[in-house]
Amino acid sequence: MEKLLQVDDLRTWFRTSRGIVKAVDGVSFDVAPGKTRAIVGESGCGKSITALSILQLVPEPAGYIESGKIHFGGEDILERSWTDMRGLRGREIAMIFQEPMTSLNPTRTIGWQLSEAMTVHGKDAPVARTRALELLERVGLRDPNAALRQYPHELSGGMRQRVMIAIALANRPKLLIADEPTTALDVTVQAQIMSLIKELQDELGMAMLLITHDLGIVSEVAHDVSVMYAGQVVEAAPTRDLFHDPRHPYTQGLFASLPARNRRGQDLMTLDGIVPDAANWPTGCRFAERCVHKMDACSTAPQLRVSASGRQVRCHLPSALEVTK
């Protein structure tokens, strides 16, 4: 099937006083039209920078895209200039950020910000105004008419995230990038927001790239998962397969550290050690120091291998690619 978004061997680096920090170091994945790809990983593994790289919004001047290809709708969008990218941002590819508290401009009304999202891409102001009201209704704000004239500080976190969703969907994008959309919210609100996003995704038939560290959310909404560790994808598979049969020791560790019914009363597993320094990645396997299966081969860097069933794992273990069932 034709992919909507295809990221190939993306490297996004940062110049710092400690040297070059390779935050994203050879990441590849794709997103099919209408489907959801989740990128999972712990803080600092490069998943947010991957998302920002797609829109070419990596924090300047330190950050830059060293190499790689990002194809969107068949076109290599890394070739686009900053000005050309603007036509894509918000219209074809929209993004929701983690912090609904600070992602809205505190000095402007909700209506103003929602309309702006549309007038930027050439919609007339009155049309934008009407559509803004529809959108607020659609995302479930209690009093959409009043909300148009309200300022961000007058809304709760959940309401603000609904507004952010409305803004992101204002131009009916083909791809939605959601960077930890529920991390800053209460648990009860998290579920509401996720189901709203999923509902709207089906309604608009758009694809989604979901950045998260919450495996619970992944199992509910994602079709495919890429697990990132230390700037690389260590494992990628359809969600079902990954949850039933994680292959990479890191992924296995992640699942083992979740509370589970069959391990009731036992202490939760933790992964010992810390993520290596991004300015100075180890030459071998980046997970080796924390891995329970560490062996001699781990001193050379493993490649992302593809099994016969289409699973991708970056590990030297023979069992990683075996068909177990």
Partner: protein
């Protein structure tokens, strides 16, 4: 053109000023930030006092701007002239005194002078009142030069960074390494004496502080999430700067402009004291202080001249500072959140 008509047209300027002020106030009150700031100000007694004092000064200044053409003297006479001008005496006289001071044979004086008269016998109270308008003109016009300049350069340097930042930072670092007062004196000597010349001289040397602050604030806001999400929506840099970042800087800019205003009033006095101030035919507290330089050494002491001028300056500068501080307190809670 009929001189009378010209002077009538001239009277429109204070009317326009008051109109603009009211318009801005009403518009600002509708926004939650300023609406609440105004309510907090109204509850603060020292802010109320300061505003009342500034209001009195402003009324005097505006009354001194409303006038007509006087055929007899062929000069413009303002409302203040008509009410407060007194016939000149021969020389000094103490407040409310009946005889002149400092003459071998003291003379009987013709009118009561509540603040006495100066060396050429002019009424000190009247001269003090005439200084109000000049103070506001210099403060106001200089602010109109300083604020746009500082905003333009500060926003550009802070947002775009790189070479633009280098150039602008270089310019203001060089400028601030030369003592401002020397630059101001040099500029007035080149441009000549006059209110507009002084405003230019002050404006060109005084934008550095505000510019530095705007640059810093812009750098801070540039990294904020709301700017990033605006970028993710495809909003242009220009629109982000003017319609997203600028409104967030306004409270800080307005507060520092208010405090800067009082500083400018003081600067006028200092320049006039140094002899490079406003022309002699314009009322000026600085000129009064300059003239009063030797008077404290006389016997009996001539104190009223100096006291009136410094009192007027202190009153205005103090109220402006109090108001600026109160404004900061009224706006700050929202800035922090």
């Amino acid at each position: 053109m009929n001189p009378n008509l010209l002077h009538q047209l001239y009277n429109l300027s204070p009317v326009a000023l008051v109109g603009i002020a009211i318009f801005i106030f009403l518009r600002a009150r509708q926004t939650p930030l300023w609406g609440e700031a105004f309510r907090r100000l109204a509850r603060n007694p020292s802010a109320r006092t300061a505003m009342a004092v500034i209001g009195i000064y402003a009324t005097i200044g505006l009354a001194d701007s409303v006038g007509w053409y006087d055929a007899a003297t062929q000069e413009r006479r303002t409302v203040i002239d008509a009410i407060f001008e007194r016939k000149p005496e021969r020389t000094y006289s103490a407040p409310l005194a009946e005889m002149t001071t400092g003459e071998a044979k003291p003379q009987k004086i013709r009118e009561k002078h509540i603040l006495g008269t100066d060396s050429i016998g002019a009424d000190v109270f009247y001269r003090t009142l005439k200084g109000v308008r000049t103070a506001f003109q210099i403060g106001g016009m200089t602010v109109l030069i300083v604020t746009p300049l500082a905003l333009l350069l500060g926003l550009t340097a802070g947002y775009y960074g790189k070479w633009r930042d280098d150039v602008i930072t270089y310019i203001y670092t060089v400028l601030s390494s030369v003592p401002g007062i020397l630059l101001q004196i040099a500029m007035v000597l080149v441009l000549g004496k006059g209110i507009i010349q002084i405003c230019l001289a002050l404006g060109i040397t005084r934008w550095v502080g505000l510019c530095r602050m705007v640059r810093g604030e812009t750098i801070k806001h540039r990294e904020r999430e709301y700017v990033r999400s605006a970028k993710a929506l495809g909003v242009t840099d220009m629109v982000i700067l003017v319609r997203h970042i600028l409104p967030n800087l306004l409270p800080v800019v307005i507060i520092s402009t208010t405090l800067g205003f009082s500083n400018l009033v003081l600067s006028e006095a200092i320049l006039s004291y140094l002899g490079v101030g406003v022309p002699d035919n314009v009322g000026s507290w600085g000129n009064m202080i300059d003239a009063a330089r030797d008077e404290l050494a006389r016997d009996p002491v001539i104190w009223w001249n100096l006291t009136a001028a410094t009192g007027a300056i202190t009153g205005l500068a103090l109220s402006l500072n109090l108001f600026g501080d109160a404004l900061r307190d009224a706006v700050d809670p929202r800035l922090r959140s």
